[in-house]
Amino acid sequence: MQTIIARIGGMALAVVREMGRMLLFLLYAFYMIVRSPGKPIHILKQLHFIGAKSFFVIFLTAAFTGMVLGLQGYYTLTKFGSEGMLGSVVALSLIRELGPVLSALMVTGRAGSAITAEIGIMRITEQIDALETMALEPFKYLMSPKILGALIALPLLCAIFDVVGIFGGYLVGVKLMGVNPGAYLHEMEKSVEWKDIYSGLVKSVSFGLIIAWVCCYKGYYTSRGAEGVSRATTAAVVMSSVTILVWDYFLTSILL
């Protein structure tokens, strides 16, 4: 009995310690970004890797999400005889919710895992130690560019996601199901407010931070060889995805 309690206590302590370490990691990363953000070229490279290279997958996901929203929305709205509202349903779901969340999840899978693997391999092959011995701050060369890159890339990707998704919905709703094109666009324009766009933007920026934070952290504390890297990568993707969804709920309830 006592050992069980001790074990539960030990686990709780481990969780708290891990959370503390993560928070310190983030604070130190911010401190380093403010103190010496690194060369623009490093940030541009990360922007290219996290942002530009995610374009295709974001495009595809967005197109099909928009199309399926068009279908489902049409099906539901016809029940109330209000298929003219399709434009606003598609646009609001995308801008407020699906755009930020889905683009963040796709980036986690595509770029987040790569970030963790890259940093993790640098850790286990002592490349991070080598940086430290040269008095070159690993945070400045590894973390800061990735965090800044993700912070910039995510809202842009999210915007692309929204636009492509809205056209996907248009394609299905208007061209396939025969919704009036004027109604689709007009309803959308009427119902989408600045508040909606703003909340989508806030979400995607904070998701960018979560991705870079969790994935860099997991990579930085990798240990034990190839298996350690694979474990860290899996953990990073799972943790970052779950955190995104949980955080999304809280943000939505605040921003609503």
Binding site: T125, Q127, D129, A130, E132, T133, M134, L136, E137
Partner: protein, 248 residues
């Protein structure tokens, strides 16, 4: 001068350094020898602050780095160059970029000055036409030499070498030793060489320290080590299978 005072370090239950005292004089070459797995690499990591001792202190040129914050530690590390046991080149950079990286980040040299310095450093270690190769396209010996070039480049005051010649053919191994000795004669840095090249290293170094069971078993000039009557030291230097050292 590097001082390690009563340094202890354990991993889990396994004690690696145990109340270790070691003074490494400035401007000299000190070799650290000892059986495999005794903690020589761990010792080097303590000297440069990559590991913190559980107890005891590490003092570099009079500055206690044991509890130093990152910023101060980085200032002290400016004095150091280090060659890792597995070299630890940046594997997504070419050889040229690897060697140029510290110059680009820490100096205000122009592009062509950097190019000259890098080529000079690479030629110094006997490498040519490897600029565009990536570390995984190099042989083990070539990697060591690139690592050496990187460690020597900024003219550090203290250089730590973790097994600079392991895995090299005897000729290149000797050449590495020569290179370290000649460069030392020119710049007079403090060198710590962890090595298994006994007795070859005796011709290179000024002092030898032997690590055994978490402590310095003996420290002295190469001649003193050769003449030592300590059975552990004798056995290790001669490579005898019979003696107090056991390999199971």
């Amino acid at each position: 001068m590097i001082e390690m005072l009563r340094v202890s370090k354990a991993f889990g239950g396994q004690s690696v350094l145990n109340d270790l005292d070691l003074v490494i004089p400035g401007g000299k070459i000190t070799a650290v020898i000892g059986p495999s797995g005794e903690g020589k690499s761990v010792l080097l990591r303590h000297i440069i602050g990559l590991m913190k001792p559980d107890a005891g202190r590490v003092i570099i040129d009079g500055e206690d780095i044991t509890h130093m914050g990152r910023r101060d530690l980085n200032r002290v590390r400016e004095k150091f160059g280090m060659l890792f046991q597995n070299v630890a080149l940046f594997d997504s950079m070419t050889v040229f970029e690897n060697v140029a990286f510290p110059l680009e980040e820490k100096t205000r040299l122009t592009r062509s000055e950097i190019r000259d310095r890098v080529h000079e450093a690479l030629e110094h270690v006997g490498l040519k036409d490897v600029d565009r190769k990536y570390p995984d396209q190099l042989s083990g010996g070539m990697k060591k030499r690139v690592g050496l070039a990187r460690a020597l480049l900024l003219n550090p005051r203290i250089i730590l070498f973790d097994e600079p010649t392991t895995g090299l053919d005897p000729i290149i191994g000797n050449a590495m030793h020569r290179l370290i000795k000649d460069t030392h004669a020119r710049f007079g840095f403090t060198a710590v060489i962890v090595t298994h090249e006994v007795p070859a290293i005796f011709d290179v170094c000024d002092y030898v320290a032997m690590l055994y069971q978490g402590r310095i078993q003996i420290r002295g000039t190469p001649d003193e080590i050769r003449d030592s009557h300590d059975p552990v030291v004798r056995q290790f230097v001669t490579g005898d299978l019979e003696g107090p050292l056991r390999f199971v």
